[in-house]
Symmetry: C2
Subunit: 346 residues, 2 copies
């Protein structure tokens, strides 16, 4: 039986949910997964940091208040976020990076990933920033150090997308994909089909916690664009930068557009897509598309996400599931760790 | 670079499509998958058999007529089906078993699998019979002999279901599933929604090659029942026999039923499902269910198959794709071989 020592970098909703899973399920994982996890360090810009090589109490971490410097309440903790020390010197085998997404330069998460890999630690992350902007160089670093760099949760939270495509669909020859990759905008479109105006639907999404106070990144497609870059580079061997992907959001769609579509048994969806062109190049776009009801993504309603892979040998294969959520995204980190266990246990 | 020697047992549509993939793609697999395949034997009750340890010409096999004893036309071939010899003595590393499904006792495919595993060969198969009836004992044999026994194609042809659930969703705690697992019956229901009577829709499905001359196994749910047994035993740790799963088909649905559903924005679907009960037991059923339009399977139309896994950590995760087809099913065999390569290459 293997025990992995893990350090949590960023202690917002996702890593707190991972701590919750550990506190509730570690014992059963011993049998079902063949390993257990021991939290040896936590660091967070707002909450401070703590290291305990003998293992921190996961339950105590979960019930910590979200107040400035709260990690100082844990024995040995401090109000300061000693990120570098926790990453390099907590004795962790695996770093779970779940800080905020920075779509400009991927920092500081990218530096956290580099410190970890250079220090001989595996990295699991749900952060779109480092992957969309620096995946190639970080992967190179991980190969050089023979450490894993896993990021299943960067696209559809816990719904398996990268691993489905790279493992289960290996050999099927993926030539493109279309996805509903943002739950907020899909929720807004679904509600507009029920008669709400765009602004009413956005307000409702905000009330339900789907949309942030500033919904721009969701409704203008910027969030989807990061995911298109991640998937195009990962699955189609592209080398796209964020600015290579054209991006139009849903704020220009009117109630009339939605109504016309419904009368034709069609649906407007915000689609992030990429495809390999005849000359071998890969192009990616984000834009509202009018889908007929037979399209595999036409029936995806509410905050659900989905992606349809276009393959040479199977035609379209589509997976749908949650695209957000604390526990769902924490599961993505767990699934990355399971993958590390499978790949490195021998 | 690895070369696997493979023997094809049963040379109907599926293994012929595998031979076609080999003839067209073997060279590119060298780079993309890290291995190539060499066909060293073929045997088929109708076509005869042939062995060539130096490798048979895949292209010549593909263009062989489907006439009795045709394998005798290949140098070294014979009109007789020397199954046991091809399985045990062709020098194959992997046996691709794709003979007909026998839902009564799984024979002769089960014996073919046993011969292969006892002889130190990996087995890949798309055959529902051996899996639904004898999976536990054949798996035991494969473990004892340290050989792989893979059968992704036994449920939804090439659409990854077993591997998605066991690999990508490991740790998500699957507690049940609902599936549209038979393309013919789903096609019939879809066409009935367009106004056709049951018998007209069945006739159309037969004309298109979706339904056999005797459509009983498809429309009465017997085919789905085999798949429910396979998945319940594989994913929920059940020990169900075929007779443990209650089974009602779609032949009792009337045009009125379909019409009433449409007026309520609902759809009748033939659902194969299983769930873990509170007492730990697992129950499986096959029956038409009325799904509201929000249900993840409600929008699956035509011959497409889909399965929705109910998980503790992610809620519903649904995958849809082809559930039949020569090339699609041959891809399932390829994906099994890829899995063997990944698991055994070290």
């Amino acid at each position: 039986m293997t025990e992995y020592k893990i350090a949590l970098v960023g202690f917002g909703g996702v890593n707190r949910a991972l701590a919750q899973l550990i506190s509730e399920r570690n014992t059963s994982w011993k049998e079902s997964l063949g390993f257990t996890l021991k939290i040896v360090g936590v660091t967070d810009l707002f909450l401070g940091s703590v290291i305990n090589r003998d293992g921190l109490d996961a339950g105590a971490l979960v019930s910590l208040p979200a107040t400035k410097g709260a990690l100082a309440q844990i024995p040995g903790g401090t109000v300061e976020a000693f990120n570098e020390t926790v990453i390099k010197n907590s004795g962790a085998d695996i770093i779970a990076e779940a800080t905020f997404t920075n779509p400009i330069d991927g920092e500081p998460a990218t530096t956290f990933c580099r410190w970890a890999l250079e220090g001989g630690k595996h990295v699991v992350t749900t952060n779109k920033g480092p992957i969309a902007i620096h995946a190639a160089t970080i992967k190179e670093l991980s190969l050089k150090n023979n450490m894993a760099f896993e990021y299943e949760g960067s696209v559809m939270s816990g719904t398996p997308v990268i691993r489905l495509a790279k493992q289960s669909l290996a050999g099927s020859e993926i030539v493109g994909f279309e996805g509903i990759l943002n739950g907020t905008s899909n929720y807004v479109l679904t509600r507009m089909e029920s008669g709400l105006a765009f602004s009413e639907a956005v307000a409702e999404a905000q009330k339900l916690g789907y949309a942030e106070a500033d919904p721009t990144a969701d409704v203008e497609g910027y969030d989807v664009r990061l995911k298109v870059v991640i998937l195009a580079n990962e699955l189609l061997g592209a080398k796209l930068s964020i600015s290579d992907v054209s991006c139009v959001g849903i704020s220009g769609l009117t109630a009339n557009d939605i109504d016309d579509a419904r009368q034709n048994n069609s649906h407007w969806k915000l689609i992030g897509s990429a495809k390999r062109n005849a000359d071998g190049s890969v192009s990616g776009t984000v834009e509202p598309k009018l889908l007929s009801s037979e399209h595999p993504l036409a029936g995806i309603s509410g905050a659900t996400n989905a992606i349809s892979f276009n393959t040479e040998l199977l035609g379209a294969v589509t997976v749908s599931g949650p695209g957000a959520g604390r526990i769902e995204t924490a599961f993505a980190l767990l699934s990355d760790i399971i993958n590390i266990h499978t790949a490195y246990k021998k």
